[in-house]
Symmetry: C2
DNA sequence: GTCTATAATTGGATAGAC
DNA sequence: GTCTATCCAATTATAGAC
């Protein structure tokens, strides 16, 4: 579906041993779009940053919108594709949840993820497919990963959860807390690690109070 | 502080019995900015929508940025200024929390609030003061209101909460759940009331499980 | 204060040479 | 594929009349 709408990372040239223009155009577009947003970046700027002519940019991407879509798809995949909780032990449930929360927050609060969120939220009314691409790569994926872990913990007898899907959403919501929205609305650059760790601990603490097995 | 940066709602004319141009310009700017975003709206469009000339628009607002700031300040105050939980009974804690969650969600998930969030998130890197204006009128205010209620409930002996400020943040986070971010990333117009009610119930249910007094 | 008309700039996209 | 040069439309902002 995404491809039919022009949202795809274009093919490398057959001899893709070194970057090449297409790659440097994408890299320049990624930098500038994430930093300044779709509307504030011109194709002139991207061409200059990529050390290419505007005509070359248009030879690779039919329009500014298509280039933007390619950037969103690329960053979404690269940034969120690796989130996994497979290696964690459901018997050490509190420690594992803390690791999950910490990893999740490091991911979604990273300056790159915040910038990506920002440009998508800004442009999704005009380009709805961007929201779908990101949602599947990001929130839907991490929710699924976390739900899988919760199921394993229930099976291991370390958590008592009636609805694991709902609980996964709640865990994510607690972890985000106010920090995520705050970074979107009042960006402070990178947050202090202590702040993030405390948010992770608070989320796990409340989650365990609600769903932990009392012994 | 906001005023020193040009973010303020301009004075009405002394005889402010009927709208006047300034008001119709603000109204037109509000409609178009919230609908299409800062970058996609031109001063021509605003002037046309306000049935005024562009020169008149500039007679009231020195720049497009200033007009945008005035719109954000105005909508933030108007939309979030009325959120209050004073009338709720802390002895009927579950019912009161459900009312709070429902009101809160009706507010933050309303199409206007989502649109406001969207334009602020998009432009806050260029106009940081917008985030401050909104944060104080919106999230900070509702958090304070909710924390006040939680304190009253603790005093009434219906909730056991070690840190009411943290708990207020957690309550808000649980209420938002995935719905708020989802509306920002994959707007679906207005949500079905049943979906919102269920989110409110789920938030209260988990909150009570963590902080309710067991009897 | 309000208007018409226009200045000055910028931005998306393309033609044609190599 | 890549470049230079350019077209054309849109945009912010202002000058000058009333």
């Amino acid at each position: 579906m995404a491809q039919s709408l022009g949202i795809s990372v274009p093919q490398e040239a057959p001899d893709a041993t070194r970057p090449g223009k297409a790659e440097s155009i994408l890299a320049a577009a990624e930098r500038t779009f994430l930093e300044r947003g779709f509307g504030a970046v011109s194709m002139d700027t991207i061409a200059r940053e990529a050390v290419a002519s505007k005509a070359t940019v248009y030879a690779h991407f039919a329009s500014k919108e298509e280039l933007f879509g390619a950037v969103v798809a690329r960053v979404s995949e690269r940034r969120f594709g690796a989130f996994s909780v497979d290696a964690l032990d459901p018997r050490e449930v509190a420690a594992s949840l803390l690791t999950i929360a910490q990893r999740f927050l490091d991911l979604v609060l990273s300056p790159e993820a915040i910038a990506l969120n920002r440009v998508i939220i800004a442009e999704v009314p005009r380009f709805p497919v961007l929201g779908d691409v990101f949602w599947e790569a990001g929130p839907a994926r991490s929710r699924a990963q976390i739900e899988t872990f919760l199921r394993r913990a229930v099976a291991a007898g370390t958590l008592a959860i009636p609805d694991t899907r709902l609980a996964a959403d709640q865990f994510v919501a607690l972890a985000r807390g106010e920090l995520h929205l705050r970074q979107l609305l009042r960006p402070q650059g990178a947050l202090k690690p202590e702040i993030v760790s405390e948010a992770a601990r608070n989320a796990v603490s409340m989650f365990m109070r609600a769903f932990g097995i009392r012994s």
